[in-house]
Assembly symmetry: C4
C-alpha cells in the first residue's frame, strides 16, 4: 500500500551512506571498509622506520588521498543527515572528524613528535569497521550470552584482581627487591601475568619459597580459568536452547488469542480456550 515517492538527491545520498539495503549502499560500505583498513595499514607502515625511510613519499601521498576521501565522506554525511549537529557531536561524528584533521594539522605544524600522538586518533577509524561487524550477524546469541553473563564475569574479574593484590604483596615480601619484585605494584603486575598464564618471564621468582608460592598462584590461575569459560558455556547453551526447542515443537504455544476472554499462549493443537472453555478460531 506504500505510494512510491520521488526521492531527492539528499535522501538518496542518505540511503547510500547510512543504509546498507541498496546495491549502492552496500558498495559504499565495502569501499569504506577497504579504505579504513588501507589507512590503518598506512599508519602501521609509517611507524616502521626502515619502511618510512624508503617509501616516505608514497606513504605520504596515499595518506593525503585517504584524508581527502575521508573529508569528502565527512562533508557528505553532514549534508545528507537531517539533524547535522546531532551527527557532528555524536560518537561516530567525532570519530569521523578525528580521522581527517591530524593530516591537516601536520600541514600547519609539521612536527614529528606531535604527529606520533595524532596518529593514534586516526586509529579510531577502526570503530567504523566494528559498526560494520553488525552485518556479519551470526553473533546475536553470543552477544546475548555475554550480556547475561556480564555481572558474573565482573564479580569473577573483581575476585581475580583482589587475589592478585594479596598474592602480589606476599610475593613482594618473600622475593624482595633484589629478585626484581622492586615494589608492590610491580609484584601485583607479576601476579596478574602469572594468574592469567601469560608468564612473560621478565620477572620470575628466585627463592625456593617464592617459587613455591608462584606454583600455587599458577595452579590457582589454571583452575580459575574454568570459571569464565563455564559461565559463558552455560549462558550460551541457555541462549541457544529456545531455538532448539522450536525445532522440537512442543514448548511453543501459539499466538492465538481467545475470542471470548483474550487469554493467550494456547497450545498449538488447542481447540478450546484453557481459560474460559470457548472454542478457538483458527486462521
Amino acid at each position: 500500500m506504500s505510494i512510491p515517492q520521488k526521492k531527492n538527491w539528499k535522501t538518496k545520498l542518505h540511503e547510500i551512506i547510512y543504509e546498507a539495503d541498496t546495491p549502492a549502499g552496500r558498495l559504499f560500505d565495502l569501499v569504506l571498509m577497504v579504505t579504513i583498513i588501507t589507512s590503518i595499514l598506512l599508519v602501521m607502515l609509517e611507524s616502521v622506520k626502515s619502511i618510512d625511510a624508503k617509501f616516505h613519499n608514497i606513504l605520504n601521498v596515499s595518506e593525503w588521498m585517504i584524508t581527502i576521501l575521508f573529508t569528502f565522506e565527512y562533508i557528505a554525511r553532514i549534508i545528507s543527515v537531517k539533524k547535522p549537529f546531532q551527527y557532528i557531536f555524536s560518537f561516530y561524528g567525532i570519530v569521523d572528524l578525528l580521522s581527517t584533521i591530524p593530516k591537516y594539522i601536520s600541514l600547519i605544524f609539521g612536527g614529528v613528535h606531535a604527529l606520533a600522538a595524532l596518529r593514534a586518533l586516526r586509529l579510531l577509524r577502526i570503530f567504523r569497521i566494528l559498526k560494520l561487524a553488525r552485518y556479519l550477524g551470526a553473533s546475536n546469541n553470543l552477544v546475548r550470552a555475554l550480556k547475561a553473563s556480564r555481572a558474573k564475569i565482573s564479580v569473577f574479574l573483581f575476585t581475580v584482581v583482589i587475589v592478585a593484590i594479596i598474592l602480589g604483596t606476599i610475593m613482594y615480601l618473600v622475593e624482595g627487591e633484589e629478585n626484581g619484585f622492586t615494589n608492590i605494584p610491580k609484584s601485583v603486575y607479576w601476579c596478574i601475568v602469572t594468574l592469567t598464564t601469560v608468564g612473560f618471564g621478565d620477572i620470575a621468582p628466585q627463592t625456593p619459597l617464592g617459587q613455591f608460592i608462584a606454583s600455587l598462584v599458577m595452579i590457582l590461575g589454571y583452575g580459575i580459568i574454568a570459571v569464565p569459560t563455564g559461565i559463558v558455556s552455560a549462558e550460551y547453551t541457555a541462549q541457544n536452547k529456545p531455538k532448539q526447542e522450536l525445532e522440537k515443537g512442543e514448548l511453543h504455544l501459539n499466538t492465538q488469542s481467545c475470542p471470548s476472554c483474550s487469554a493467550e499462549k494456547h497450545k498449538d493443537n488447542a481447540e478450546f480456550c484453557y481459560n474460559c472453555g470457548h472454542k478457538l478460531q483458527h486462521a
Copy 2:
C-alpha cells in the same frame, strides 16, 4: 504487626556499621570501601621508592588519617556489638585490629625493615571488601556450581601435582644441573610453570630429549585444562537449569487429565480443557 521501638544510639550505631539496609548503613559501607581501597593504594605507592622519596610526607599524613579512621571504626564496632569479645576474637575482628596497629607500632620502633613486614598485615583489610562482594549478588549459582565441583577439582589438582612431581623428576634427570634444572623441587616448579601454560622461560630445556619431553608436558597441560573447565561448565549448567525453566513458566504443564476427554498437559492455570472445552477438576 511489629511495634515500632525507640532505638538507643548503640542499636542505631550497630545498624549503621553492621547492616546495609538503611541509607546510613549503605553510606557507611561505601565510605569504608573507598577508604580501604585508598589505604591499599597508599601501601602500594609507599613501596615504590621514587614515589616515596618525593611524596613521603603526603603519604605519611594520609596513612595516619586512615589509621585514625580505622581506629575509630574499630572502637565503634566494639561498643555497638552485643558480645564485644566474640567480635574481637573473630576473624574480621583480628583483621580489623591488624589493620590499625602497624602504624602505631612504627611510632614506637620506627624501624624501616620491620615496617615492610607489618605493611603486609594491612593488606588484610581488603577482606572487608570481599565481605561487601556479597552485595554484588548475581553469583549464587556460580558459588553453588563451584561448591558442587569442589571435590572433583580437588582430585584434578591433586593429579596435576603428582604429574608435575613425576615429570619434574624425569626432567631433572634428563636436563641436569648444567641446564638450570639444579634440583628436583626446581624441576617440579618448572613442570608446574609448563603444565599450567604459564611458561616464564627463566628455565627452559636445552637438550633435544628434554625439549621432546617438554613438548609432551605442554600438550598434556593444554589437554588437561579442559577438565576443570568441563567440570565447572557442566555443574554450572546443571545449577542454572531449574531457574531457567521457572523463568520460562509456560514450559511446565501440569499433570491434570481432562475428566471428559482425558487430554493431558494442561497449563498450570488452565480452568478448561483445551481439547474439548470441558471444565477441569482441581485437587
Copy 3:
C-alpha cells in the same frame, strides 16, 4: 545379487591404492603412512647439523629409497586411475609430485641453499596422513560442531585482531621505542602474544603505565578465551544431543521380559506387557 567379476590388474591396483576396504588396501595405506612419517623424520634429522654431519650417507640413502618408493607410487596412481589428468592436476596429485621431485632436482643442481627451500615442499606429504585421518572417524560430531560455530568463531577472531590493533597502538605510544615497542606492527604482535596468554617475554612493558595497560590486556585475554570455548561447548552439546537420546532410548525401562511374548524394555511401573497385553510378573 552382485555377480562376481574378474577384475583386471588395473582395477585391483586402484582398489589397493585408493580404497581401504580390502586387506591389501589397508596394508598399502599403513605402509604409506609409515613411509610418510619416516620421510618427515628424515627431513627433520637432516636439518640438525650435528646429525647430518655424522650420518649424512645413511640419511641420503634412506632419502633416495623413500623418493623412489614415492615415485613408483606416483606412477601407479597415474596408471590405475581412470582419468589420469584429473588426478595429476588435483590437489593430492600436485602434492604427490612435489613429494618426489625435490630429490631429483638436487641431483642436477645439488645446491645447498636451494635444497633448504625444496625440503619444505616435501612436508606437504603429511597431508596424505591427514587424508587417512578420515579412517580414525569418531570426530563427525566434532567436525559438525566446528562447522556450526565457524561463523561465530570468525566474528570472535576478527574482534580479537581489532582489539590487538587498538591496544597495540596504545602500547606503542605509551612504551615507545626505547622499551622494545619499536613500531606499531611489533606492538600489535606483542599484543597478540599477550592476549592469547602466550607471553614470550622477548618484549615486555617497562613503564608503570605500560604494565598497568598490559595487566588490563591480560585480564581481557584471560576473559575472552571463554568465548570460543563456550561456543564450541554449546554447539558440540547441541550436535551431541540427538545421538545421545537415541542411544538412551531404552533408558529408564526395566529388565523385565514378558512371560507371553518375551518383549523387553517395559516401563518401570508397567503391570502389563505393552506388546501383547499379558500380565507381567514382578520379582
Copy 4:
C-alpha cells in the same frame, strides 16, 4: 546369613594391607600415604645441594628408616597375599620392590651418579597414592567422560602435532638459524610451545614475517584450545544427564492415553496399556 569365622593372622594382615573398610586398614593406608609423601619430600630435599650438605646425616637416617619400613611392608604384602608370585610380578609389586632396593644397592656400590638415576625409580612409589585416589571417589562421572572423549581428544592432539610440524618447518624456513630456529625439530618444539600458549621465550621470532606467522599460530592455538574443552564439557554434561533425567522421568514416552484406565506415558511402540492391559488405540 554369613557365618562369622575366626580369621587367622594372615587373613587379618591381608585385610589391613589390601582393604580399607576396617579401622586398622584405613589407618594403615593413611600411615602409608604419609610415609610415601615424606619419602618423596626426602628425595626432593636430597637433590638440593645446599640442604644435602647441611643435613646429609638426618636425610640419610630418615631415608634408611623409610626404606626399612617399605621393606617390611613389601614382605608383609608377599606373606599375606594368596598368590605371592602374581603380586610380585604385578605392576604394583614391581613398583613396591623398586621403592626399596635403590638404597640397598647404594650400600654396595655407593656411587654418586648411579644414585641419581636410581632415585628416579623411587618416585614410582607415588603411584600408590594414585591408588588411594580411588577412595576420594567423586570422580566416576569425570573418568567416564574422559574415557568417552578419549578417541576425539586423540584425533585432536594428532591434528595439533601435524599442525605443529607444518608450521614449525615454515618458521624454520622463514626465521632461519640466525634467529634461534637452528633446525626443524627445534622449530617444531617452538611451535608446540606457542600453540599450547606456554611461550617460554627462549626462542622468539625476530623477522616481521616470522612474527606475523607467529601471530597466526598464537591465534590458532588460542582458538583450538576450545576444542578439547568443548569435548570434555559436552561429554561430562552427557554423563551427568542420566541422573537429571531420571529425576524428570518422562522422556521418550508418547502422549497416548489408555482408553480403559486413562494411564499415560506409554512407550512409543506400546500396543497395550502397562497399567490395565487394555489394547491401545493409535491415531
